[in-house]
Symmetry: C2
Subunit: 518 residues, 2 copies
Amino acid sequence: MNGAESLVRTLLDERVDVCFTNPGTSEMHFVAALDRVPGMRCVLGLFEGVVTGAADGYWRMARRPASTLLHLGPGLANGLANLHNAKKARSGVLNVVGEHAIPHVALDAPLTSDIEGIARPMSHWVRTIGSAGGVEAATRDAVQAATTPPGRIATLVLPADCAWTELPGDAAGGARIARLAPGAFDASVIEAAAALLRGGGKTAIVLGADACHEAGLEMAGRIAAATGCALLTEFGVARVARGAGRVVATRIPYVVAAAQATLAPYETLLLVGAAEPVSFFAYPDKRGRQAAPGTRIVEVADASQDLHGALAALADAVSARALAPTGVAQRDRTAAPEGAMTIEGIGRVVAALLPDEAIVVDESVSSGRGFGTPTVGAAPHDWLTGTGGAIGFGLPTAIGAAIAAPDRKVIALEGDGSAMYTVQSLWTMAREGLDITVLVFANRAYRILQGEYAGVGAGTPGPRATDMLSLDRPTIDWVGLARSMGVEAGRATDLGELARELSRGLASRGPYLVEAVL
Amino acid sequence: MNGAESLVRTLLDERVDVCFTNPGTSEMHFVAALDRVPGMRCVLGLFEGVVTGAADGYWRMARRPASTLLHLGPGLANGLANLHNAKKARSGVLNVVGEHAIPHVALDAPLTSDIEGIARPMSHWVRTIGSAGGVEAATRDAVQAATTPPGRIATLVLPADCAWTELPGDAAGGARIARLAPGAFDASVIEAAAALLRGGGKTAIVLGADACHEAGLEMAGRIAAATGCALLTEFGVARVARGAGRVVATRIPYVVAAAQATLAPYETLLLVGAAEPVSFFAYPDKRGRQAAPGTRIVEVADASQDLHGALAALADAVSARALAPTGVAQRDRTAAPEGAMTIEGIGRVVAALLPDEAIVVDESVSSGRGFGTPTVGAAPHDWLTGTGGAIGFGLPTAIGAAIAAPDRKVIALEGDGSAMYTVQSLWTMAREGLDITVLVFANRAYRILQGEYAGVGAGTPGPRATDMLSLDRPTIDWVGLARSMGVEAGRATDLGELARELSRGLASRGPYLVEAVL
């Protein structure tokens, strides 16, 4: 057994049994170990942003970390943007990054770089292995780091000689590492929050992280039933349970004026797994903190703490445990509309056709802001949104979600601009036969930026600025692009065609792309 | 005039008049300034690796820096791999990275990250601007940093409020910054090197960096004529002058055994702008230093020094200045071969059809190793190779080269695996109508890794390893992929078809892609 095999065996022993990968020479012994050690599902991505985004999506649905396998500093660098998103989603990811053999690093070969320096801005934990004998312990520590609540980015650097050096014995010998439990909530804070809820002032609970899973929302719905408080969620949440039968929490909008209006009525915000609401970007003459000045903000529990326990304790403190939750969405069986392609109409088509227990990955950017309302009463589903603002998370995250939940349909809602960042994802979807329907909103522009331009006080774009925000010269043929990578596809120019194409995708068992021309 | 306009005006004043860009909200004031300040050519990329790789290619041909415009930490992160390549190519690049407005950074909005930390591993110089009034001085310093010989990566972080804040006056007021000259060579080292050359031992001059431009090679050819020394180049060089009429220097091979065999005959290596030859990767039981143990290695001048001056002084010292250079390539007018597709045959087709003064960007990886010999006597051309080993440099570098040298045909030789990393480049080629012919070698595998697998001592790949190194499930339809982004394309399955397709591409004025099915 060599160091690489020790790594694979230890990962499997720790139940890390999926590896999203884009390997190179320095990782060949890891690849070789896959043939000797059964049990690791390896998924190849043709670009590292696919790999790290898939690991994010995998955690969001599986609630355990996948590993990634990345080639030296540049391979890691290509994966950083989606590690940023994963970090902000509080996903656990275990990166394995190959490094030159230790004596080779000093020779400054072309691929030599400061791997730890590259890793650090997007990692909670970084370690470089020093010997083959140290692989197992470092790997177990990396698993513990990645699974530290609520979920962390752990980056383990494996020099090639540590991978290829033979070890005595042939099995991972150590004991499994202890998984750390979420931090306990603070009973005195719960009591203070309950007193505020009972006090009768206008109060909203802002939910984030795991508090947006079904059980958390349901408990929050009971608290709302007892106290009349409002329920909100952060704008970007890793995973929100939605649809018929689920408690509805209002998503704080992206647009500053709308977010401020949403928050304005409340004297008190109780944060449960959420941060204080701030605007995505700064704008001249607008405040970044979105709650009205003077709003009392209480952090009931942060994302690393036991959020469901905190909500249950809060429910007990306001005598809500036995109540029926308020605000449960009713099933809306309105048929899909026909007619001209509109954003609102698209939302209604998606709502009408959404299968039970679908996983929706939402990178629709400007096109998708209107989808919340029409999908409230759709079939029960999970909604995964971008958390870090780095474009290109959607298609990779859909891959990871599909691998974590192979019996559920995944629907990726993609702006055309954002889909292009990690478009290589389509190939992996085809290769793995993943059950993903991709809906691309072809507005042929960075539409969101056309709005932001005015928002930051830059006025109206002139011809050169307009050119930098437009994707219509040439237009991208999404149907041809998908087919070139082995994904069947169709185009829709009105809502009737959209419903037919979306139905075709949802009925197929495998990837399908629909280009919705806006 | 606001800070963003000050930045654009200062860049133009410093003759930085090309900007490769992928902007976001925090960069909108820079985009807006483009409409108010004429003279900046802005080229949009749909992924930041396209942007930074284009800046590398631009420097290699224009010998002055382009700017990039990148969106916050994740946008910079997406560009890091090609900044790594640019850094190893010693290209000067001036990155402008938008940051949140300064008061917004503390709010930890979704896109907040440690931008300086992300920049540092791939930058020689990093600075965050602190006020609108400081933009001009910081920009001039960044230009000086980027142009510091031989060429450096300078990263300037521009907070949004520094961009949007109004300044008194309406012009960049300061004086142009002094450009730093290359360091002087050391006359005593030249004398010592000349003594070794005159001494009669077997000596090779290893050329790198600007010493591989036409004038450097010619001077080296005179020294060879006087002394009988051999001429070599590093494996990866940013730009080598090749073809008929140019002095031929032997490229040190990639494969370790071949590299060691190439270097074995020499008692002395004289490095001129080159580093000591080391292997790309480490392998068990092979040495990383490629020269035979005991070889005397003398650094005559490093890449930051005046390499042409050093070669001229060395030529003087061995009385070579008046001699005709030895080893000048003769024009080979062999017609393009026909028949089955072979690597060697492809090289001969390329050689036969190469237009005068073509720029060849070589990311052909395993397929391209045999192209050196057949192209020795082709029409005069520049050959740009990967320098940092990060895959995905070729298509973006071709974009930058085409913009720097619009009257020259650019030919990008691309492995299919490597082309996929920054495949979004095709769209930019179409949009800008760039005169680039892309030749994709569709071997449908990470072929190089299939060789490396054995090289690192991992034996023969089993089925799971083979699966991780294969790109044939599904095959990528390169013709369809190119057309989906607006680039005309054709497929070739034998050498006759290849010659016809390549001729079609070379005859067109604009981008064309040829898929060579291997």
